[in-house]
């Protein structure tokens, strides 16, 4: 009985956290370009460390 008093709130909180995360991702536009997001993960466009920027982009 004691265990239930904290297990149920924990399970509800976890569920609510999942719900909140989903609503946030929806609001921040993460579902607007699903095909594009799949491709963007392959882009290697971090800020360049060395100066040979051009050759890196061509590769």
């Amino acid at each position: 009985m004691i265990s239930i008093s904290y297990l149920i709130p924990i399970s509800l909180l976890l569920g609510a956290a999942g719900l909140a995360a989903f609503l946030w991702s929806l609001k921040s536009g993460q579902y607007e370009d699903l095909d594009g997001a799949a491709e963007r993960i392959l882009f290697d466009d971090d800020s360049p460390v060395r100066r040979d920027d051009d050759s890196r982009n061509k590769a």
Binding site: I4, I8, S11, L12, G15, A16, G18, L19, F22, L23, L26, E32, D33, L34, D35, G36, E39, R40, L42, F43, D45, N57
Partner: protein, 749 residues
């Protein structure tokens, strides 16, 4: 004269880029901090490489702050600062992408969809958590524990029902206020009563609460509703993505020589305008100076370009093909041909009896029956043992068990699956009601130009022409965008002859193309002009000839290219029991020739008004007409018909009013669509039958007071799963039952 034309051509080229700037500025929107945002449709984006290339090319422009490609919608959003728009379209065309502006007022975030998905997420969260608590109650939680769980469930259910259920409550309230009943009325009553009764049971520590049923019901129904909405939204964006670049302004010439861009709506009769080659006529006008050819196929259905000179009348929407013209407006935009068509469409819409969707018709029968049954149950129990609490509990159990969960999913699920099938076959469905209407079709009317045909000239006698002449002709033809030149150039490219270098080609509008090679004059064009040195009798009957110093080298014959698989599509339609007819605005002999090849009844030179009248007459005699057409002149007929289809190449207006838009060239889309619609109708009927059978079994059990919350949850989920699974049969069985022509064309996508 030649100097003069050169100057006009230069002006027009300049005007072109100035126009692009004006349009970009008009289509951009201010987002604050001195920034503007412009969205462009770039239909040829197809992979991550394209995204990277485009973004890198745009970001280096000095005015551009930010550029982002959306691969799903094939659009680019650019943020820029300053008053002069950056060279976005030019930059994109340099790296090989064609970009179009589209109407941003139609765009923006889809608020309805976002609301539906949020409601779905909340309902899903509530339903799953309450279901977990309910499982422990069903498996025998004791008194104290059960009360605790009931209270927890109530606590979760209340906000979820307020937030997610309000979609149904609002719709039901709107319907009730105007004295109608839709499917949302019994849903809302069921959900509200279930919640109210459960709350009462919780307060008095009763054994049965239906919180899980109430939230699960909302969750299941929201799935159906969201799928239905996504289907329609996808079709809408796909159709909008096709929108072509229609001028919103025209280059007006003032008497003092100034050239000013004026929005199309502000053009008054008498204003003079410059119309470059490749532009559409903005308002009805008369040619003042210049010679050119006009493509009227979208406006009147005529397949052959018309030559125009000073004094000729032009209709709004026709396309100037070969050389710039100076024109004078004869009507304002509201009185132009296009506006006439829109007025006729509105008239046709008004005369059209509103179609009632199957689900709405079912709801009209269903709601009173369910409520009467619940009331009857209450009265019987009152008479039988006089316990009001028990009677109310059982009556509400009847309402919960009959709540049209399956019914609410039965129709949208089939429509969503059918829309997916259509999409795989290259067709965009506007809404589910269109699918139901399409299934009832018994007569099909085709437009000719652009529908049965592609509206593009095709060289017929390509094998009879000497390869060297063909190579020469195609090299010369590459300098013009007249449809015949395009056809010759295309034929030459296919033969891959050795390239010929030409010193210069001049286009003489209305006559043809002329080129000088090694002192000889080559002409490609009308026989009367190109064969000046041959006696009239020898002049070929062909549409276009190639001549050397006035002597014939080759004669070219053309035919409007028939749409792929048109004969197969027609015979499929006949096999399906449809009467077919061709109504065209084109000349009698061209229509007759095509109708004879396809063995169809035909009428030629039919005005838009006559087309609409014809369809209205057929509808009055009890026929259900499907109109398939693409032109502006078909738009009123598309509205008047019971159901309508348009190819993706159709005029914007037609495409927007058509129930279905088919994206591929093949005409087999028409029989395929009707067949999918008919199969969908059968599945809808099956699903409705299943829902009725379910109720026939469930209602007596509920009326006898034997329903527990566990039984209600199982019955509800089971019936929903059955109708969803049944709808999927459209995908499975469809693959075996396709008409002969479809397998080949479903491979493409």
């Amino acid at each position: 004269m030649s100097c003069c034309t050169a100057e006009t051509a230069y002006d027009v080229a300049m005007a072109g880029s100035r126009r692009a700037h004006e349009e970009l500025l008009l289509a951009s929107r201010v987002i604050g901090n001195g920034l503007r945002e412009t969205s462009l449709a770039v239909p040829t984006i197809h992979c991550g490489g394209c995204m990277q290339k485009i973004e890198q090319a745009l970001v280096v422009l000095p005015e551009v702050e930010h550029a982002r490609v959306n691969l799903s919608t094939k659009r680019v959003t650019v943020r820029w600062h300053g008053d002069v728009p950056p060279q976005i379209i030019e930059t994109l065309s340099q790296i090989g992408y064609e970009a179009h502006l589209y109407d941003t007022s139609l765009d923006g975030k889809d608020l309805v969809l976002a609301r539906l998905i949020r409601a779905l997420a909340v309902a899903g969260f509530a339903a799953s958590n309450i279901m977990l608590l309910s499982v422990s109650i069903w498996s025998g939680a004791t008194d104290e524990m059960r009360n605790l769980f009931h209270w927890l469930s109530a606590l979760i259910a209340l906000p979820a029902l307020v937030y997610s259920g309000s979609i149904f409550f609002n719709s039901a309230w709107r319907a009730l206020r105007v004295g109608r009943a839709n499917m949302d009325v019994p849903i809302s009553i069921g959900v509200l009563l279930a919640f109210g009764m459960s709350l009462y049971e919780t307060i008095v520590h009763g054994p049965h609460a239906y919180f899980d049923a109430a939230t699960a019901l909302v969750f299941f129904l929201l799935i159906g509703r969201t799928l239905d909405y996504v289907m329609r939204a996808r079709a809408r964006t796909a159709v909008m993505g096709l929108a072509r670049f229609v001028p919103r302004s025209a280059l007006v010439l003032h008497s003092d020589g100034a050239q000013i861009f004026v929005p199309v709506n502000a053009i008054n009769p008498g204003m003079r305008m410059l119309l470059a080659a490749g532009e559409r006529v903005p308002v009805d006008a008369r040619v003042v100076a210049g010679r050119s050819e006009i493509d009227c196929s979208l406006v009147s259905g005529e397949s052959v370009p018309q030559a125009v000179t000073a004094g000729s009348q032009l209709r709004a929407g026709t396309l100037n093909l070969t050389s710039p013209l100076t024109i004078q407006a004869t009507a304002t935009a509201e009185n132009s041909f296009l506006a006439d068509m829109i007025r006729m469409m509105e008239a046709a819409e008004a005369g059209h009896s509103a179609y009632r969707r199957i689900a709405d018709r079912a709801a009209r029968l269903y709601a009173p029956m369910v409520h009467a049954t619940a009331l009857l149950t209450f009265i019987c129990w009152m008479i039988a043992n006089g316990d009001a609490h028990r009677a109310i509990t059982i009556a509400i159990a009847v309402l919960i068990i009959t709540c049209p969960c399956a019914l609410g999913l039965a129709v949208p699920m089939v429509h969503v699956v059918a829309a997916r099938r259509l999409f795989e076959n290259g067709m965009m469905l506007k809404d589910g009601g269109a699918l139901e209407r399409l299934a009832e079709i018994d007569t099909v009317i085709f437009d000719k130009t652009g529908t049965l045909t592609l509206g593009q000239a095709q060289l017929v006698n390509v094998d009879a022409i000497e390869p060297t002449s063909l190579a020469l002709a195609s090299t010369i033809a590459a300098h013009s965008r007249h449809p015949y030149s395009l056809a010759i150039a295309a034929a030459g490219r296919n033969r891959a002859a050795a390239p010929i270098v030409l010193s210069g080609v001049t286009e003489i509008s209305g006559s043809g193309l002329e080129s000088h090679v090694d002192g000889k004059i080559y002409r490609l064009g009308q026989p009367d002009w190109a064969l000046a040195n041959e006696p009239t009798a020898h002049r070929a009957s062909a549409s276009v000839v190639l001549s050397q110093d006035g002597h014939c080298l080759a004669a070219f014959r053309f035919r409007d290219h028939m749409r792929a698989k048109a004969p197969e599509a027609i015979s499929d339609l006949k096999r399906m029991g449809c009467a077919i007819e061709v109504l065209s605005g084109d000349h009698e002999d061209r229509v007759r020739e095509l109708a004879k090849t396809l063995d169809l009844a035909h009428s030629a030179r039919v005005s838009p008004r006559e087309k609409t009248a014809r369809i209205a007459a057929m509808a009055a005699s009890g026929h259900k007409v499907l109109m398939v057409g693409d032109g502006l002149n078909d738009a009123p007929a598309l509205v008047a018909a019971h159901a309508s289809m348009a190819p993706a190449s159709a005029a914007d207006v037609g495409r927007n009013v058509a129930d279905l838009v088919f994206l591929r060239d093949s005409l087999t889309a028409v029989p395929a669509a009707i067949m999918i619609a008919r199969r969908a109708r059968r599945l809808v009927h099956e699903n409705l039958t299943l829902a009725v059978i379910y109720n026939l079994i469930a209602v007596p059990i509920a009326a006898l007071g034997l329903v527990t919350p566990l039984l209600a949850a199982v019955a509800m989920s089971l019936s929903s799963l059955v109708v969803v699974a049944n709808a999927q049969r459209l995908l499975v069985r469809g693959k075996q039952e396709q008409p002969s022509a479809i397998p080949a064309f479903s491979q493409v996508g």
